[in-house]
């Protein structure tokens, strides 16, 4: 994202190759990288197994968000329960001790899960700029149906449209299109 962002001022040229089979897109993606081209992104109707390796993507760091906020939520809650029950207004409830730690566990757990899950999803949506009502910009209208789109960014002048198109077709691309956009999809 960051890389795309710096170039967003300028118009970029993208080459979009559409594939119809999962096996073809996997092969083509690997081939693009082997040939040293820059993959802007690959668009698939479902998470294609192995594509992350083919694209050489790093694993997501969202688990850290999940862990940190889950822990924060749990700590906050256990403190809050202790503070309300034993410090702010200690009330004798059924002769139980002021600090009834075991009784605080269930709510603490629930709040931990709630914090962890919501923060992870929020981080994901925010990180991928997925917002309600946002207009989707599609590489191909059927990319959410049954097509796989490989989008190659034309980084430098040495990019040869014809050559790339040719071997992409060879790899099974059913359709190839060039598009000029202000930013990536």
């Amino acid at each position: 994202m960051a890389r795309n962002h710096t170039e967003s001022r300028n118009n970029c040229r993208f080459l979009i190759a559409i594939f119809e089979r999962e096996a073809d897109i996997l092969a083509a993606t690997a081939e693009v990288r082997r040939r040293g081209q820059t993959i802007a992104d690959v668009y698939t109707p479902y998470p294609v197994h192995g594509l992350d390796k083919a694209m050489d993507l790093r694993p997501s760091r969202l688990p850290w968000v999940c862990f940190a906020l889950g822990l924060a939520g749990a700590s906050f809650k256990v403190w809050f329960e202790f503070w309300t029950s034993a410090v702010d207004w200690p009330i004798n409830v059924g002769g139980k001790p002021w600090n009834s730690l075991p009784a605080f566990v269930p709510v603490t757990f629930e709040v931990m899960v709630l914090f962890a899950a919501l923060s992870t999803v929020a981080a994901f949506l925010f990180g991928r700029r997925l917002l309600p009502g946002k207009r989707a910009r599609l590489a191909s209208p059927r990319v959410t149906d049954n097509e796989f789109a490989l989008v190659i960014e034309q980084k430098d002048a040495s990019f040869s449209l014809g050559e790339v198109s040719a071997w992409l077709r060879e790899m099974g691309a059913s359709q190839i299109e060039e598009r000029v956009e202000r930013e990536a999809f």
Binding site: M1, E20, R21, E22, A23, D24, L26, D41, V42, Y43, T44, P45, Y46, P47, V48, H49, M55, L57, P59, S60, L62, C66, G70, E81, T84, S85, D88, W89, V93, G94, K96, S100, F104, P106, V107, F109, E110, V113, L114, A116, A117, L118, V121, F124, G127, R128, R129, L130, P132, G133, R135, A136, R137, L138, A139, P141, V143, T144, D145, F185
Partner: protein, 453 residues
């Protein structure tokens, strides 16, 4: 679990589908005008819902006295329905989260509907603690917020507070989990539909999804994390629900076996409900290729396993009571089996212990009609299990002078019917407006276009 349902019986999805066919198959049922059967169904469930709404409105306007409760039996249909619906809900989470963690690919055909069922069941469940209050308009007092009372907080030692947190968390997480799973399919729908309000709605909820694999990568992580969080959550929720009873002093409630017993029961009842619904959907929505005998068979095996756990729990309770040398404890269980409400106990045993034994036979498992009947029996039995636990324990506790009976009023029965109405109405609307099968996930398990293994 994984071994119990190990799949080696052929392809998951029949009919040699391609992703495009999947899209068409699933979306076309949303795009057609609804079949008359759907209209009949929604009219039926809608009237049930209406009946329930009238009953609840009457009850809130008049008082809890319109239920058959008394000074000894303070809970009956209300909390029975609550626990029942929470239990139903758990199967959805289990199918989507636990089976996801166990990499059970067969879940993809059923997880969407199962998750929807979870949400609707939790809505139904959440309704009951609310309306069972004497003063439901003060329900917000359950939440700890700063106030002008000093501040007077809430009692974190009360299992009802735990419940409040557990159910609201569970609903939130289930909803988020379901919605996250729905985002790609919403995008599919958006891109298929012609311009119109449905396209705009789908567009709004698809959050601008464009199938980017970078997003998919994070998405899969999120999904995994949610599954990982939902799994202990589902266990915790029913454990907490069981603590409503287990932490009390009432014989028949006050027992340590309740948490595992409840969780097993929840899975058992939920699975049977999922199966009931899927069998209906399979037939009415012509999804035989997606929900195959293999799916049904796998779920039947889960039913046998969880039914067995439940049966063991029933037995253990008795043995524990017998061994306790505590006259109240022993009486509570003798009274269940032979007291004035023993019919409810034997319905429970008949439905939950005996009827699933039929599923040992493959012939039964592959006969959809018989399986359907068995699942209905299990649903009935599991409702009665909660009824037995709540009512038979309460109606005859320590002091013989307090012993009473219990009989529901029409208002209570109408409320139960209404909760089914709510559930079915929501489910039917879901079938109409939301892809009932997780297309993106099904596409992922198709053999089409993949390199042969």
């Amino acid at each position: 679990m994984a071994s119990a349902v190990a799949i080696s019986e052929g392809p998951l999805i029949l009919g040699n589908k391609t992703p495009g066919i999947v899209t068409t198959d699933i979306c076309s049922s949303l795009e057609r005008t609804p079949a008359p059967s759907w209209w009949i169904a929604i009219a039926f469930s809608g009237s049930m819902l209406l009946l329930g709404l009238v009953a609840v409105a009457y009850q809130i306007a008049t008082g809890i006295g319109t239920w058959g409760l008394n000074n000894t039996v303070g809970w009956a249909f209300d909390i029975t329905n609550f626990v029942f619906w929470v239990g139903i809900g758990h199967a959805g989470t289990l199918i989507s989260a636990v089976l996801f963690l166990f990499r059970q690919k067969w879940r993809t055909s059923v997880n969407r509907a199962a998750e929807a069922m979870t949400i609707f069941a939790v809505i139904c469940a959440g309704l009951f603690p609310l309306i069972h209050m004497g003063r439901p308009w003060l329900a917000h007092w359950m939440a700890p917020y700063p106030n002008t009372r000093g501040s007077l907080w809430i009692n974190f030692r009360s299992p009802l507070v735990w419940d409040f947190f557990a159910i609201s968390t569970y609903f939130t997480i289930s909803f988020v989990f379901w919605y996250v799973g729905l985002i790609p399919d919403m995008a599919t729908l958006r891109d298929r539909l012609k311009a119109g309000w449905r396209k705009r709605v789908a567009g709004f909820f698809s959050l601008g999804w464009n199938g980017s694999f970078r997003t998919w990568l994070h998405y899969e992580t999120v999904y995994l994390l949610l599954a990982g969080l939902a799994t202990p959550l589902v266990l915790s929720v029913h454990t907490i629900v069981s603590w409503d009873f287990a932490t009390s002093v009432i014989p028949g409630w006050h027992t340590t076996i309740l948490p595992p017993y409840f969780v097993a029961g929840a899975i058992f009842s939920g699975m049977s409900m999922v199966l009931s619904l899927m069998l209906i959907a399979r037939k009415t929505m012509r999804l035989e290729d997606y929900i195959t005998t293999r799916h049904v068979g796998a779920m039947c095996k889960i039913l046998i396993a969880t039914g067995g756990m439940v049966a063991i729990a029933y037995l253990t309770e008795f043995v524990t009571a017998l061994y306790s040398n505590n006259q109240y404890e022993q009486f509570a269980f003798m009274n269940r089996a032979m007291g004035p409400l023993c019919w409810s106990y034997w319905i429970m045993v008949g439905c939950n212990v005996l009827s699933p034994q039929l599923l040992w036979f493959k012939a039964v498992r592959s006969n959809m009609a018989v399986v359907f009947v068995v699942t209905i029996f299990i649903n009935i039995g599991m409702w009665f299990e909660r009824f037995v636990i709540i009512v038979t324990s309460l109606h005859r506790d320590y002091l013989p002078s307090n012993w009473t009976g219990y009989a529901p009023t029409w208002i209570e029965i109408a409320t139960l019917v209404g909760s089914f109405g709510l559930f079915l109405t929501l489910f039917l609307l879901f079938c109409r407006f939301v892809p009932v099968i997780a297309m993106a996930e099904v596409k992922g398990v198709l053999s089409h276009g993949k390199k042969p293994h």
